[in-house]
């Protein structure tokens, strides 16, 4: 990679390995995310794609190799508000929590505002703006328990966006979103990406729909098996998936 390329790399993993006790999850992985990329990370359950994401979020540290975020090594990186994160929804079970859409979205500002400081008027304004952008203004002061799965997902996107991150990472964002809303959902992501000049990374097992929206695809199965444009991926899909899964992926990609 040339010098110019290095400067534009939002995320850079060099020779990264990760293992839990004896189990090697990622083995000598090279991966980079360039400014403006819209990357889909695909792979079966247990392939290491979630681990890859957690390494980028600083939730895990690599066993070997190095992770750079915005040009800084992971151990020195502190500007976490530059990265927005939308977790897999099933992991939340947040519906019963007694908080309003406004309160949840405002909690996305916690890192940006900093310790011992309280929310100011302009913070409240940006909460209202981002809620409007995801189309939930009517629900602003309602408890999140009254929302549908798709609406709750948009609340989490608003929470991730309110701090104006440069990189947005989404983990299985379409799980729990009904089929009709998925296209709409990706449409929203794409326009949010363009309006805010975001770099975006989506981790998903749902190869079918996602690859139509992203511009790059990375296939993870302990190693990175393919890392290229969505166009190239579509053309060689059969072969790549065959190589990774030995045919079982067919079932998955036709699932939706």
């Amino acid at each position: 990679m040339d010098q110019q390329g290095k400067q534009d790399a939002v995320v850079e993993l060099s020779s990264v390995s990760f293992q839990y006790e004896d189990k090697v999850v990622l083995d000598d992985v090279q991966f980079s995310l360039m400014k403006g990329d819209f990357v889909g990370i695909v792979g079966p359950n247990g392939s290491g794609k979630s681990t890859l994401m957690k390494l980028i979020l600083g939730l895990l540290s690599p066993t070997k190799g190095s992770v750079h975020l915005f040009g800084q090594p992971l151990s020195k990186f502190r500007e976490w508000s530059r990265i927005g994160y939308v977790a897999q929804q099933v992991a939340h079970g947040a519906g019963g929590f007694p908080a309003t859409v406004r309160e949840v979205v405002a909690s996305g500002l916690v890192g940006k505002i900093g310790l011992f400081r309280r929310l100011q008027a302009h913070h409240h304004k940006s909460v209202e703006e981002v809620v409007e952008r995801v189309g939930l203004t009517a629900k602003l002061d309602q408890r999140i328990g009254s929302l549908s799965g798709g609406q709750l997902q948009r609340v989490f996107i608003a929470r991730a966006l309110v701090a104006e991150p440069e990189l947005l990472i989404l983990d299985e964002p379409t799980v729990g979103v009904d089929q009709e809303s998925i296209e709409q959902f990706y449409g929203l992501l794409r326009s949010l990406k363009e309006e805010n000049s975001l770099t975006m990374m989506i981790v998903s097992h749902d190869v079918g729909v996602m690859t139509q929206w992203v511009n790059k695809v990375a296939c993870v199965q302990q190693k990175i098996h393919f890392h290229g444009t969505a166009h190239d991926f579509e053309h060689n899909q059969e072969q790549i998936l065959q190589q990774m899964y030995g045919g079982s992926m067919k079932v998955l990609s036709h699932h939706h």
């Binding site: 979020l57 600083g58 939730l59 502190r78 976490w80 508000s81 990265i83 994160y85 977790a87 992991a91 939340h92 947040a94 929590f97 007694p98 908080a99 309003t100 406004r102 309160e103 949840v104 405002a106 909690s107 996305g108 500002l109 916690v110 890192g111 940006k112 505002i113 310790l115 011992f116 309280r118 929310l119 002061d141 309602q142 408890r143 929470r159 701090a163």
Partner: protein, 282 residues
């Protein structure tokens, strides 16, 4: 009868202490309950109890500890217990709720042994167990005032961090919030609050005041802030009503306060049910 509350020092101390407890218990309780840690108060109250027993024993056996209020030993044990729970939660990662029964049994076991080594049960101990108005001293009130100031100050200064960590630990971590430090400090506050509230409601009943008003509030609140607000309102009604009736009828203050809180919870549930029935009926 009401005039007594101004005439006698101990009643005034009790009244002020009650108001402070009614303020801080439901605030901490709200954060505990939304994190599904409502049993934490129970676990810690038993550790506090063993601290009080240790304090009583030491004041008997060691001359220079004679003047030390057993309350402070309760606080010390409770804080150590809270640190131990955080530790246990890490050791038993897959069964995090196990930390509480472990700490609860340890506390109770230690308590019974310490009490048997000292002189066994007496009236003073009874007041720590169940709460008794006449035992509140100015020293108890000052201790509680200090704890309340720290709790309120903390919640004012790091409300958004407490909310973020309670709602979604992983997101808070990814946002760069030092989740561990926040959790630890919060548990220390819960421990101190339990110890400081002991004289009024008693150790065995303190967890009721931490959980019951919040349980009622959750039924009707429209937001997280409102949950805290209504929980405080219900706790204050329970404390003031409970203290009044306890003094008037010569009942145990702790039990009376808890019964008030139960009554409020049942009323809220009943009104909610009635409203729902009316709506479907019309």
């Amino acid at each position: 009868m009401l005039a007594d509350w101004w005439q006698y020092d101990f009643l005034r101390y009790t009244l002020f202490s009650g108001i402070l407890i009614g303020l801080i218990c439901p605030i901490l309780g709200t954060f505990l309950i939304v994190r599904k840690l409502s049993m934490m108060a129970d676990g810690l109250s038993h550790v506090t109890l063993s601290g009080v027993a240790a304090g009583m024993l030491l004041s008997k056996k060691v001359a220079f500890l004679n003047a030390v209020n057993p309350l402070f030993f309760g606080m010390l044990f409770s804080v150590l217990g809270s640190l131990f729970i955080e530790r246990l939660r890490k050791v038993f990662k897959a069964q995090q709720d196990l930390a509480i029964p472990i700490i609860l049994s340890s506390g109770l076991g230690l308590f019974t042994v310490l009490i048997s080594v000292a002189d066994g049960f007496n009236a003073d101990l009874y007041s720590y167990l169940f709460g008794k108005i006449v035992t509140v001293t100015i020293e108890d009130l000052y201790a509680l005032l200090g704890v309340a100031a720290v709790v309120l100050g903390t919640v004012f200064l790091i409300y958004k961090e407490l909310f973020a960590v309670s709602f979604d630990e992983e997101f808070a971590r990814v946002s760069g919030v030092s989740r561990r430090a926040i959790n630890l400090w919060f548990m220390v506050l819960v421990a101190l609050t339990i110890a400081a509230s002991m004289r009024i409601v008693g150790v065995l009943l303190i967890s009721a005041l931490i959980t019951l008003p919040v349980a009622a509030s959750l039924q009707i609140s429209g937001s997280f802030r409102q949950t805290i607000f209504f929980a405080i309102l219900f706790a204050e009604i329970s404390v003031l009503g409970g203290l009044y009736f306890a003094y008037m009828l010569d009942w145990a203050s702790g039990g009376t306060i808890v019964l008030m809180a139960v009554l409020i919870l049942l009323t809220v549930l009943g009104v909610k049910k009635a409203k729902a029935l009316l709506r479907t009926g019309l």
